[in-house]
């Protein structure tokens, strides 16, 4: 005999199972995977007059994956008809609006959970308000906080069609280059959108990787774009060399090379390990002293001369040159950001906030503006280099 309450529960359970289930179900092949988004500034567009209208006009390019194209040949070549990706460009005054209106045009609605890269053009970053551009990408639940952000010199849209011959999808190509920061010190270590959000909230000036197009098959990611912490606008770019200096100061060096002058020619030193420590002396707040100490270790990678590397004085000499070179690079960067641009992309603000909180509270409003304690501070760099190995050989030929 089945009890009535049991029947009731069974009915409820059956209805929860049969009536409600599956509402979120979207098969994987019905998703339109967006791998990358490029944001440009668009010309003013006419809309209906009574519709709410934003101050900005975005031109957004979405890069969709074509999974079958990705599987079939693994080649890009939009020429042979079976491309692995396609780009769609839309304009509008809000990111979300564009994304939703896109659903009316592509059969597979955009799905952002695999978004890897956001490319923002120089002009968009300058004029549209950087935080406005990113708001949708930080706020929306489909987004991951590990999305990478880069700033493009020139149109951002163009970057999404650059792909090297050995890669298939432009976004993958660019993301992979960002990973190479461990081989090349001139690339900014990849910035997660989550980190960027932190900078925005902390009023901290920061840098993002910079991308420029060389040709259809090559992009250059050396250098970086500086953002001002007070209004989060793009204020300028750092060259490749200055970016390297910044990486040294940020203690973000994972590898790379240092080229030194050696007997009329050059020699290359490969960085294997680098550790930067920063000390601040805040006794005089009008002249805060920052002391960077860079300790680096590495091997000799290339040498166009035949000194006897087994002798200690030669090595000492070389180490001294390396130290000088690194210091020169770092100081060049400091000069650019502190003296010329006056933006604290060195992250000294957060150093003070963490280590000298009370003092910093007092000077916080005038850190980068007004009295500008940042520009007034003294930044000293000292370097200690250590050649750990001379490579597998001593001399490549007998002199």
């Amino acid at each position: 005999m089945v009890r009535p309450w049991f029947k009731g529960i069974a009915c409820l359970m059956a209805s929860t199972m049969l009536l409600t289930g599956c509402w979120d179900r979207v098969e994987i092949e019905e998703r339109g995977f967006v791998l990358s988004v490029a944001v440009d500034e668009a010309a003013e567009k006419e809309g209906s007059a009574d519709e709410p209208k934003g101050l900005q006009q975005f031109e957004v390019t979405y890069q969709f994956i074509i999974p079958t194209g990705l599987m079939k040949n693994g080649k890009s070549g939009s020429s042979d008809g079976s491309s692995a990706y396609f780009n769609i460009t839309k304009t509008g005054d809000s990111m979300f609006g564009i994304a939703r209106s896109l659903a009316a045009e592509v059969s597979r609605a955009p799905f952002f959970e695999h978004l890897k890269l956001i490319v923002i053009s120089e002009s968009a970053a300058e004029t549209l308000g950087f935080a406005n551009v990113l708001d949708f990408f930080i706020r929306d639940h489909e987004m991951r906080r590990s999305v990478r952000t880069v700033v493009s010199k020139g149109q951002a849209k163009q970057m999404l069609s650059v792909v090297a011959s050995n890669e298939v999808i432009p976004a993958e190509y660019i993301s992979s280059i960002l990973e190479n920061s461990r081989k090349n010190a001139e690339i900014v270590k990849k910035a997660r959108i989550g980190d960027v959000h932190e900078y925005l909230l902390q009023k901290q000036s920061f840098v993002l990787p910079q991308i420029s197009k060389i040709n259809d098959k090559e992009a250059d990611l050396r250098g970086s774009a500086m953002f001002n912490g007070t209004d989060n606008k793009l204020v300028g770019f750092l060259s490749a060399e200055e970016t390297k200096g910044l990486n040294f100061l940020h203690d973000k060096i994972e590898g790379g090379s240092v080229k030194i002058k050696w007997n009329d020619n050059v020699s290359n030193f490969e960085i294997r390990e680098s550790k930067t420590t920063l000390h601040a002396d805040v006794k005089d707040r009008n002249r805060i002293k920052f002391h960077y100490h860079i300790k680096t270790e590495g091997i000799i990678a290339e040498l166009f001369d035949r000194p006897d590397l087994m002798s200690a004085p030669v090595i000492k000499e070389m180490e001294k040159l390396i130290e000088e070179e690194i210091r020169r690079t770092a100081e060049k960067t400091i000069h650019k950001v502190q003296r010329q641009k006056k933006v604290d992309v060195l992250l000294l603000r957060s150093h003070l906030e963490k280590n000298h909180y009370r003092m910093f509270q007092a000077i916080e409003p005038d850190w980068e503006t007004g009295i500008n304690y940042f520009a007034k501070s003294d930044i000293i760099v000292s370097v200690h280099a250590n050649i750990r190995a001379i490579g597998a050989i001593n001399k490549s030929e007998r002199p």
């Binding site: 994987i28 092949e29 791998l35 999974p67 079958t68 990705l70 695999h114």
Partner: protein, 497 residues
């Protein structure tokens, strides 16, 4: 109750024989060999053809009795003591017993023994001359090991008992035998070691066995269900095995076992989850190897239960949780597949179960063919026809392989059934459904008991000491004590010398 009635035997031989004939319905395989021994005493040997060892009976009984001259040894004795004389002076047969009642006599004849009746005596001699068809000791079919012993149980309970006695020479090893089944009267025995096995366990087991009231408990599998604590569960609550070494080990751990005549499967009880991850091989190997293999089996359990469900949940609901490149590749491979992933998965897993079931029934020579046709051809054809995606085939294959990696066939079937339940949950609710299913399964498992021992122990309730032989199989010298949860009478396995 039974067709036989309790009664004394008659002194008249002819009457006794008639009675035996009528009771058994005078079958033509009933052998009644009538002969006379000096001085003119009529005797009869009763047995059933095919169930006896002819040579043994001939050499040690018939020849001896016929050649015995009764008048020589004691002419004055009465008929009643003839049997006693035969017993003490003539017979060289070892297993001889005196029968006085009619029922045991019939039972003895039916179980393959032979009975010697003498005219004028209301008693008979019973010889344990069982022969008949029996299989040799072979390697266990369902539980092979690489380094373990090669002998497995047979259908004959005597052989099976021997295989255990052969391993344990403890005088306290007990085989408490009784007959079970109203009509079949199968011999069955509870095996335990007195002073080691928890006595309450033995008492409870016997009590449960006595409640069995079927005509014939069809083998140990049926008895296992009769004595189980709970019938609303897919999980086996005792462990069946055809390996004597497994039973030996169980006895030494404080468990008890059961053997039934007519089946090569013994039953070990009580069991907990851990016994289904353990293989006898674990103890024949280095402890690190054994531990890694156990981890592998645990992974296999989870793969069998959750892998297809995870596939469904990730592909239908949580595409963002798949690594990008894999997601694109799955999306590409599913392009054009007409079914949602849950239907696809149910279809393929169903086919797999079908193949497995067919594989058991099929005659051996065809078995391999069906393996190839089923596995390769159907899988390949389904993929190239675009009905299922290649990733699904991989998932199904991994599930199948992992389900066969478990040492216990019964347990792996239970897991496979649960898998369908989890798949449905995943199809309806995604990962949330899988988690709900997992919670439901966990609740069920911690509620189970096997002979009063919590099924999930030593995880729940937590007995850390028993973890030495759980997933980790500690080096043998560390395993000085028996598992605590069984409350063995003697906790110490190894005493320091």
């Amino acid at each position: 109750m039974t067709t036989l009635s309790h009664s004394e035997m008659n002194t008249s031989l002819a009457e006794n024989l008639t009675r035996i004939r009528t009771t058994l319905g005078n079958p033509n395989d009933l052998i009644i060999r009538e002969f006379t021994i000096r001085p003119g005493i009529r005797c009869s040997l009763v047995c059933i053809a095919g169930m006896i060892d002819k040579d043994l009976l001939h050499r040690d009984v018939l020849q001896r009795v016929m050649a015995f001259d009764f008048s020589e040894s004691e002419p004055q004795a009465d008929r009643g003591s003839v049997l006693q004389l035969l017993y003490s002076d003539a017979l060289s047969f070892q297993d001889v017993r005196m029968v006085t009642a009619f029922d045991p006599l019939i039972e003895a004849v039916l179980s393959g023994k032979s009975v010697l009746l003498i005219d004028g005596s209301a008693r008979a001699l019973e010889f344990g001359s069982q022969g008949g068809p029996s299989r040799g000791i072979e390697e266990p079919q369902t539980e092979s090991t690489v380094r373990g012993p090669r002998d497995g149980f047979t259908e004959n309970i005597l052989t099976n008992k021997t295989l255990i006695r052969y391993r344990i020479k403890d005088p306290k090893l007990r085989f408490d035998s009784f007959d079970i089944g109203e009509r079949s009267k199968r011999q069955m025995c509870v095996i335990y070691i007195e002073g080691l096995t928890n006595p309450d366990l033995v008492v409870e087991a016997k009590r449960r066995l006595q409640t069995i009231e079927v005509d014939d408990p069809e083998g140990s599998g049926s008895i296992e269900q009769w004595i189980a604590d709970e019938f609303l569960t897919p999980f086996p609550l005792s462990l069946e095995t055809e390996r004597p070494d497994k039973i030996t080990r169980a006895l030494m751990q404080g468990q008890a076992a059961l053997l039934v005549d007519g089946t090569p499967f013994g039953i070990i009880f009580p069991v907990t989850l851990k016994h289904f991850i353990h293989s006898p091989e674990d103890f024949y190997q280095n402890w690190m190897v054994a531990t890694l293999l156990r981890i592998l089996r645990v992974v296999a359990i989870f793969a069998t239960m959750f892998l297809p469900a995870l596939y469904i949940a990730l592909v239908e609901y949580h595409q963002g949780m798949i690594p990008s490149k894999l997601a694109f590749s799955i999306a590409g491979s599913r392009e054009g597949v007409p079914f949602p992933a849950v239907i696809e998965a149910l279809l393929m897993e169903g086919t797999l179960e079908l193949l497995r079931e067919a594989g058991i029934r099929l005659p051996k020579p065809i078995g391999q063919t069906i393996g190839i046709v089923g596995g390769l051809v159907i899988g390949e054809a389904a993929v190239s026809a675009g009905i299922v995606s290649p990733v699904m085939v991989i998932v199904v294959a991994i599930t199948a392989v992992s389900s066969f990696a478990l040492p216990s066939y019964t347990f792996s079937i239970s897991i496979r059934i649960i898998r369908f339940f989890v798949m449905l949950a995943a199809g309806i609710f995604g990962l949330y459904g899988i988690i709900l299913a997992y919670i439901a399964i966990s609740i069920h498992i911690v509620n189970l008991q096997s002979f009063g021992v919590p099924y999930a122990s030593p995880w729940v309730p937590l007995i850390l000491e028993d973890w030495k032989d759980l997933i980790l199989r500690a080096p043998v010298t560390f395993l000085r004590k028996r598992p605590k949860l069984l409350h063995a009478g003697d906790q110490v396995r190894m005493r320091k010398k």
